[in-house]
Symmetry: C2
Amino acid sequence: MPSMWRLYQFPLCPFSRKIRLLMGEKQIAYDMVREDPWAASDMFYNLNPAGRTPVLVDAEREIVLSDSRAISEYFEETVDKAPMINGTVANRAEIRRLVALFDENFYADVTAPLLSERMKKRIVLRQPPDSRALREAMKMAHGHLDYMDYLIDNRPWLAGSQMSLADLAAAAQISVADYLGGIDWKGHEQTRGWYSVFKSRPSFRPLLTERMEVIQPPAHYAQIDI
Amino acid sequence: MPSMWRLYQFPLCPFSRKIRLLMGEKQIAYDMVREDPWAASDMFYNLNPAGRTPVLVDAEREIVLSDSRAISEYFEETVDKAPMINGTVANRAEIRRLVALFDENFYADVTAPLLSERMKKRIVLRQPPDSRALREAMKMAHGHLDYMDYLIDNRPWLAGSQMSLADLAAAAQISVADYLGGIDWKGHEQTRGWYSVFKSRPSFRPLLTERMEVIQPPAHYAQIDI
Ligand SMILES: N[C@@H](CCC(=O)N[C@@H](CS)C(=O)NCC(=O)O)C(=O)O
Ligand SMILES: N[C@@H](CCC(=O)N[C@@H](CS)C(=O)NCC(=O)O)C(=O)O
């Protein structure tokens, strides 16, 4: 039996989604185990003391990888196909700056509050969402999309002339925020165009067809042409 | 005039400290501009749309770098001296996993609440600290130090046989938490020993002798033998 990656992930975890997009683009085979971050098992803490998804395991070769940026750098160093942290040292620094911006700022401003209000309160806490927090997250989303519009006005892809990990990181965050009804696309034609190209990629299809129990995305979520 | 790096930083910002330690170890020359994160100027947002320290600029060569991990990878790729993300691909993944653990989990659990209670409330909000939040941060610090004790029991440095960016990231967080009186060293002999070796390095001395206005560190803060 060939050695095989196993991804411990959560369907609406944007960092898990970034790794699924990356492995899709690089055509690396894997299977998945679902791990709910609010109910992490002792076994999971043994794999990753941070208790966070995603974690990637190759049991045969005894490799355990955690943290989506560490995993991305690992694949960049070991798989030649579809380089995603590419170009001059300046390009590479720009890619990593943008990955951090989406992983940290977009996540903290938009994705995390949406996950907390629309998913955690519903599934775990059984409380109604706080509409002020939702409005604030959607307002912050506009600010981030404005910045993306500006980038895409000046470059074909977010970090420059080639698709990169910055695009995967951004698409992963946006796809979760969009699933949770937090993205108002009005006035963001550039980013909408970029995202629509992205949605049609084979690496993205499995994400778009997946549904969480209880929580359903808006109608436009999986449509490619809007 | 030779081209020169300028670091926009804040004295108690652990990410700025990580870059200062890294540039010290690699013997890269730079000067510093202080930027208070709670009062970032428009000029600073132009340099870094995330509005966060550290930012590193080489005006002559028109290079602007943000995000401490992107900056670290940049120096790893451009400066041979004192490699800090070194070894096999597995070693490198382990270094990056631990950097993320200290940058994200240690920071969120320990350093950020201490900065908020002991610095921001004092300097910006002019409120007394919340003693429950302080106790909780110190309790979380014990958990992180336990994990570091365990790592150092098994390896000379946090990520393996060589000093790496993981050690710099951890020392940067701990030094800020220690400055703010949040580290109780009792029961953490391994980590205390590791940290004491670290404190005696030339790269660390400038950090230890610096003082913030108003806030003073505990007596042991800059002492090397405890
Ligand atoms: N730096 C990590 C962040 C991963 C992360 O925050 N995962 C979330 C789910 S989206 C999680 O597991 N949170 C649970 C927790 O922090 O306890 C990465 O890039 O992989
Ligand atoms: N990912 C960034 C994090 C930097 C960061 O959080 N810096 C803090 C100061 S320690 C900051 O500028 N906070 C202000 C803000 O987030 O608005 C890095 O590694 O450089």
